[in-house]
């Protein structure tokens, strides 16, 4: 083993010597980039201990608690000033309550420099391929969407309980998928008439990327129920997956849900 180590060390030394030339430009350093996903309610951090315990009031005045928040992001993309695009093309399913996959490093290395950073919330139609991802099929029961609703995959499952107009504690399931319109409800094998991509491209702005860069991506959960559509949970609390108009409203409200948080460089 000592001999092997020595030979390898000599090999690396020769490689290093080859680059020892003052006239050679500084070599480009490639690096991966880490993302951390956090959640808040109008600025108040949401931690594991807040689920089912902390009450929030939405823009419509309903008092609620959160039970579950799982969401999908994909296609993290880095675009430099020359228009060069770097996209690993992978995806990440975040379970906010458990913290599972709250840290994610796309499978790509890019040259250090300044980039406009974007990602897709959910899957756009190009990636939203029915049955295509065995890990997602195996996650959370199955992250996929029933075929009568157009198939593909959920974007988000946000669930909890709220106090309804008759003062009862009632469950809500704010499930976001590709908008699907039906000729009649309930949905069946032959009712689907229209699908609309309601994923959202999120622009995190320009970030200087160096080795060890980590970017926080914040989700303001309150925004899903606020702007531009003030969400009335008494009306829209359940069976939202086949509700085309509700899915469009989620897309509209989702435009300002995400923002860039802290950008840090880990040594």
């Amino acid at each position: 083993m000592k001999k092997i180590a020595l030979m390898l060390a000599i090999g690396f030394a020769f490689v290093a010597c080859d680059n020892d030339d003052d006239t050679t430009p500084t070599p480009v350093v490639n690096t991966d980039v880490n993302f951390t996903f956090t959640q808040n309610w109008d600025g108040a951090d949401i931690q594991n201990s807040d689920y089912e315990t902390t009450t929030y009031t939405n823009a419509n005045g309903e008092v609620l608690t959160l039970s579950k928040l799982v969401y999908l992001i994909s296609d993290v993309t880095f675009t430099n000033a020359d228009g060069d695009v770097f996209d690993a093309g992978d995806y990440n399913l975040i379970d906010a309550r458990t913290g599972s996959n709250a840290s994610f490093t796309p499978n790509i290395e890019i040259p250090e420099g300044d980039y406009t950073v974007t990602f897709t919330y959910g899957f756009d139609d190009e990636d939203n391929i029915d049955l295509a991802y065995n890990d997602l099929n195996s996650s959370d029961g199955s992250w996929s969407v029933p075929a009568p609703l157009g198939g593909g995959y959920h974007y988000m499952r946000l669930e909890g309980k709220y106090i309804n107009a008759t003062n009862d504690e009632t469950a809500f399931q704010f499930h976001n998928v590709r908008a699907n319109r039906h000729s009649s409800l309930p949905p069946g094998p032959n009712t689907l008439v229209e699908l609309q991509d309601t994923s959202i491209e999120v622009n995190l702005g320009q970030v200087s990327i160096v080795e060890g860069t980590s970017i926080e991506v914040k989700m303001n959960v309150a925004e899903w129920l606020k702007n531009p559509n003030q969400w009335d949970l008494n009306v829209l609390f359940t069976v939202l997956m086949p509700n085309f108009d509700a899915q469009i409203m989620m897309n509209e409200n989702g435009q300002n849900v995400f923002s860039r948080g802290a950008v840090t460089v880990n040594p």
Partner: protein, 359 residues
């Protein structure tokens, strides 16, 4: 030429490293190498979900599975030699117990229904039991043997007993390279056998593979199953993308207003998890009565009625339980009958009658 030398050295290094990671651990002096066994993964599973979970330190071998099967059916594991694993996990019932509560060797009665044993190799979260208290199949096996209301034995006693039974030392030797019986290898062998219990050839599977049609009633049952406004079964029990038909996760499904059995919360200590129990798989539901963690429902009709009009509220009830104030989603009688017809498409007679799974 020097480069070739380096490549040769690296090749040798890789070979040396490879030699240290033999997948089957055996005593080098035993001179016996167990035969690796590859699980036969059903086509749908292969195409749609993750591969089976097989620990690096317990790969499947023909000898290990054979030993595990013998142990599974052997009452010698119990203190008085009267009860085998298979007494409460019967093959004809998809390896569950038709009694509401199993009865231990001294007549003690448990408080939960025995769980069916099928497709356990695909339990990706690896939490076993109704309350998820074991984090591996191997760990799970340690419990019933010493549980006072089940086999009521001790592991040293099991080891001594098996050591004296003709044939076992040789089988342990062949499976694990040592004729000395120890509890770890007992659990490994049974776990190997349990991982072979795969159900993947029911009518629903053949339908999804395009080999068989559903009747109109079964097809409407599937529509009810997948409809958020009616059954909404799929959020916990999966859908055609996931042929396991369970999320292997934990829910309070509205059984009781007052939680007496804390389930997952009894293990974690988290009040938010009081009354949460694992979703059972729907596979072979025809054969796995009674239903729920406490076996309170004798028939599939009772289960459907529960979700339709029997739900009750408690603090930790899962938000997926709909219209709890009204008792449930109020399915029509036609939808109930069709849903049951669909659930019966999960019956896998090849699994139930598989001679490899019988004593």
């Amino acid at each position: 030429m020097k480069l070739k030398g380096h490549i040769l050295l690296l090749f040798i290094a890789i070979c040396v490293a490879s030699c240290n990671t033999d997948s089957v651990t055996v005593d080098p002096n035993s001179g016996y190498v167990p035969t690796p066994l590859t699980l036969e993964v059903p086509q749908l599973f292969e195409e749609r979900i993750l591969p089976p979970v097989i620990p690096e330190d317990n790969p499947l071998t023909e000898e290990g599975v054979a030993l595990g099967k013998k142990l599974f059916f052997d009452p010698a594991l119990s203190l008085n030699g009267s009860q085998a694993c298979a007494d409460c996990h019967r093959p004809e019932n998809a390896f569950t117990d038709p009694r509401q509560f199993s009865v231990g060797i001294d007549g003690s009665v448990g408080t939960r229904n025995s769980m069916p044993l099928q497709n356990l190799a695909f339990n990706f979260p690896e939490k076993f039991f109704w309350d998820g208290r074991s984090i591996s199949l191997e760990a799970q096996i340690f419990e019933p043997v010493v549980n006072p209301i089940e086999m009521n034995n001790t592991w040293p006693n099991v080891e001594n007993t098996l050591q004296e039974i003709e044939g076992y030392p040789l089988m342990f030797e062949r499976a694990f390279g040592s004729s000395t019986v120890d509890s770890i290898n007992v659990s490994k062998a049974i776990a190997q056998f349990l991982r072979t219990l795969i159900s993947g050839n029911a009518k629903i599977d053949r339908f999804l593979l395009g080999q068989e049609e559903l009747t109109p009633s079964e097809a409407n049952g599937l529509a009810v199953f997948l409809d958020e406004g009616r059954g909404d079964c799929f959020h916990c029990h999966g859908l055609p993308a996931n042929p396991l038909w369970t999320d292997n996760a934990f829910h309070n499904n509205g059984l009781d207003e007052i939680i007496t059995d804390r389930g997952l919360g009894g293990i974690s200590g988290d009040p938010r998890e009081f009354g949460l129990f694992k979703s059972g798989t729907l596979r072979n539901i025809e054969f796995t009565a009674p239903y729920m963690h406490d076996g309170r429902f004798a028939t599939i009709e009772e289960v459907i009625n529960h979700y339709s009009e029997g739900l009750v509220f408690s603090k930790t009830i899962d938000p997926l339980m709909k219209k709890v104030g009204e008792g449930g989603v109020q399915l029509s009688e036609e939808d109930k009958a069709d849903l049951k017809a669909f659930l019966l498409t999960f019956s896998d007679l090849e699994f139930i009658n598989n001679p490899d799974f019988q004593n």
